[in-house]
């Protein structure tokens, strides 16, 4: 009995019970489609986050005040981090070898108004270097002027969305807007950039860092963004920055993170999430396997006489086993193929609905889902097939 004979025999048997076969097949295909769709979602989230980081720049080192270990302590009881001052930032920019660009960052929220139009947005205080460090580009006018960081200026660069909201159909350049109590001249508008690490860079007002510190009455920077000259110097930049600031502060009270560390943390978290989603979806495949087993058990008891006949005609135990196992595997693998098609179609729909999400099932999930669907048939088909081989031929011929 060749493999082709086994498959042909199984196929004819399944064709005899189309509805039953179709329903079991559907069970498997839903399982496979769930694996494909959910892992595609997880993978989409991972790629989205990684792309966000990549957009920020891959050689970035971020300095933030306070040690990671000291957070969570009661304020006023030693937990308040020492300020990360503009002088610190300047010292790092000048004193740490391998730093290509440094941009201080202060963040606050304020109402930006022009005439009767008002909009509450994030106000970022930074410097000329931010343009390159955050990979921004200017659509109109210019970015913050190159000037010492400790010198403020009543100028503002608007995000594209903020500019469009405040100046619908009008030219914002040269206009004076109010930010809180401050009157600031618009010197530029950035090109649309979209969300960047959770911050809508199109709906932001960028002012000189010294102005922002005054505006929000801050003595400390929110972050110091450093761009290393090359990727392989990230670690030395990190170590040197930490050393320099520790010396200045008398203790290690800042946290320096490289983007690589954050990236790999996100990568592993979201990768684990994807695998967990795939695992959850795989449970439905196991349930589908139980469905196949049920259908095959019914099939064996319905076809008792046929099994008796096959034995009378000289079918060996292995041939009967193969015939019934092939039915289960045929159902499950056909369900697997259909599930892949359904899954990929669902992913296409998802991408159409959420174009920003680069949802696409990882190759391992596609392979695992299909192989699992085949395995489900083989594993859950064994019990019914063995039952068929164990039937006593005389009793089976009598339908018992």
């Amino acid at each position: 009995m060749t493999a082709g004979d086994v498959v042909g025999f199984a196929f004819r048997a399944l064709r005899g019970h189309r509805l039953r076969t179709a329903l079991s097949l559907l069970g498997v295909s839903i399982g496979v489609a769930a694996v494909i769709t959910l892992t595609a979602l997880g993978e989409g989230a991972r790629r989205y986050v990684l792309a966000q980081f990549a957009a920020v720049g891959s050689n970035m080192v971020v300095v933030l005040p306070g040690r990671a270990e000291t957070t969570g302590a009661m304020p006023g009881f030693g937990g308040t981090p020492r300020d990360l001052t503009l002088d610190d930032a300047l010292a790092v920019a000048r004193g740490v070898p391998g730093v290509d660009k440094a941009a201080p960052l202060v963040i606050g929220t304020e109402t930006v108004a022009f005439g009767a139009r008002r909009r509450q947005v994030a106000v970022a205080g930074s410097s000329h270097e931010m343009l390159e460090v955050r990979r921004l580009s200017v659509a109109r006018g210019r970015f913050l002027p190159e000037q010492p960081w400790d010198r403020g200026a009543p100028v503002v660069v608007l995000g594209s969305k903020l500019a469009a909201e405040l100046f619908p159909g009008a030219e914002p350049l040269g206009q004076v807007v109010r930010i809180g109590d401050w009157r600031m001249r618009v010197i530029g508008v950035t090109a649309p950039r979209g969300q960047q690490l959770g911050m809508d860079m199109d709906d932001v007002a960028i002012v000189p860092v010294a102005t922002a510190m005054q505006m929000f009455d801050r003595s400390s920077l929110f972050r110091l963004l450093l761009q290393a000259r090359s990727h392989h110097r990230l670690d030395t930049v990190k170590a040197a920055t930490l050393k320099l600031l520790s010396e200045r502060h008398g203790e290690e009270d800042v946290t320096v993170i490289t983007q690589d560390a954050v990236l790999s943390a996100f990568d592993s978290i979201l990768g684990a999430l994807t695998r967990a989603l795939g695992g959850l979806a795989a449970i439905s495949l196991a349930v589908a396997g139980v469905g196949i087993m049920n259908v095959m058990l019914v099939s064996v008891s319905e076809r008792t006489r046929e099994i008796g006949l096959l034995k009378a005609l000289g079918a060996g135990r292995r041939q009967v086993l193969a015939a019934f196992l092939a039915e289960a595997v045929l159902i499950s693998s056909a369900g697997g193929v259909l599930g892949l098609a359904l899954g990929f179609a669902a992913v296409q729909v998802l991408v159409a609905i959420f174009p920003a999400l680069p949802a696409s099932p990882p190759a391992w999930a596609v392979a695992a889902a299909f192989l699992m669907s085949v395995a489900v048939g083989a594993v859950f088909g064994v019990v019914p097939a063995r039952r068929a081989t164990r039937l006593d031929p005389v009793a089976a011929l009598g339908g018992r």
Binding site: M1, R12, R305, L310, A312, L313, G314, G316, R317
Partner: protein, 250 residues
């Protein structure tokens, strides 16, 4: 060709032992046509199943073609059934989803005959039983007589030495039954050893030799012409427990 010595088969029926065959000793020569008669429950189907290696005797010795088959394992018995024995059943036992030709091909599938050869041989067998034009019909599109002829073609397609028929005309009308019997007789004339279990004296009469079973014992041995004695024995209930002398025994 066949030698049965003191074959016993006892079933357990709800905790009660039922002795289906008791010390049956019989020899069947190659090319012989034997009819087995007996009332329901007499053990004739059990004897047929033992002869066909579908059932194992509890005791005794069964030699087929000079080989002791009592001790063979399941796989060896499958091979034996596949190549040496053909079965025809009262209820035809055709696979409903397969065409007549595919049903005839079935034993060849298990025997590993290549597809093209299978098709050719199946068509030749169907031609021999007058069913070539019906080759692509499924069983539900065939008459009872045609179904039994398909079953006959299937039973003999691998050219077995022994054909076992269990009430082959039991579900057929007179004309269809006669047609099937004629084919069986022709096959027997061509050298096939034929063992037929039947209630029907008209079927038994055609056999060269006839045995009657009652309660697992052989109670009558004779020729096909002695059918009237056998029928009389069956109708009167004589000979119960009084086994006819076995051939070759003192």
């Amino acid at each position: 060709m066949i030698r049965l010595v003191d074959i016993c088969r006892t079933y357990d029926l709800g905790g009660n032992p039922v002795r289906a065959l008791v010390d049956v000793t019989e020899e069947i020569a190659s090319g012989e046509h034997l009819a087995i008669m007996g009332p329901s429950g007499s053990g004739k189907s059990t004897l047929l199943h033992v002869l066909g290696c579908l059932d194992r005797p509890d005791a005794g010795r069964y030699e087929l073609d000079g080989r002791d088959v009592s001790a063979l394992d399941d796989d060896a018995l499958s091979l034996l059934r596949r190549h040496t024995i053909g079965f025809v059943f009262q209820s035809f036992h055709l696979v409903p989803r397969l065409t007549a030709r595919e049903n005839v091909e079935l034993p060849m599938v298990f025997a590993g005959v290549p597809a093209a050869e299978r098709r050719e041989r199946a068509m030749a067998k169907l031609r021999a039983v007058g069913l070539e034009p019906r080759a692509s019909h499924r069983p539900d599109q065939l008459s009872g007589g045609e179904r039994q002829r398909v079953a006959l073609a299937r039973a003999t397609v691998l050219e077995p030495k022994l054909l076992l028929a269990d009430e082959p005309t039991g579900n057929l009308d007179g004309a269809s039954g006669r047609h099937v019997l004629e084919i069986l007789s022709r096959m027997n004339a061509d050298g096939l050893t034929l063992v037929v279990v039947t209630h029907d004296p008209a079927v038994a009469r055609r056999a060269r030799r006839l045995i009657v079973l009652r309660d697992g014992h052989v109670v009558f041995r004779g020729s096909g012409e002695q059918i009237h004695e056998a029928v009389e024995l069956l109708s009167t209930g004589d000979g119960e427990g009084d086994a006819a002398p076995a051939p070759g025994r003192p």
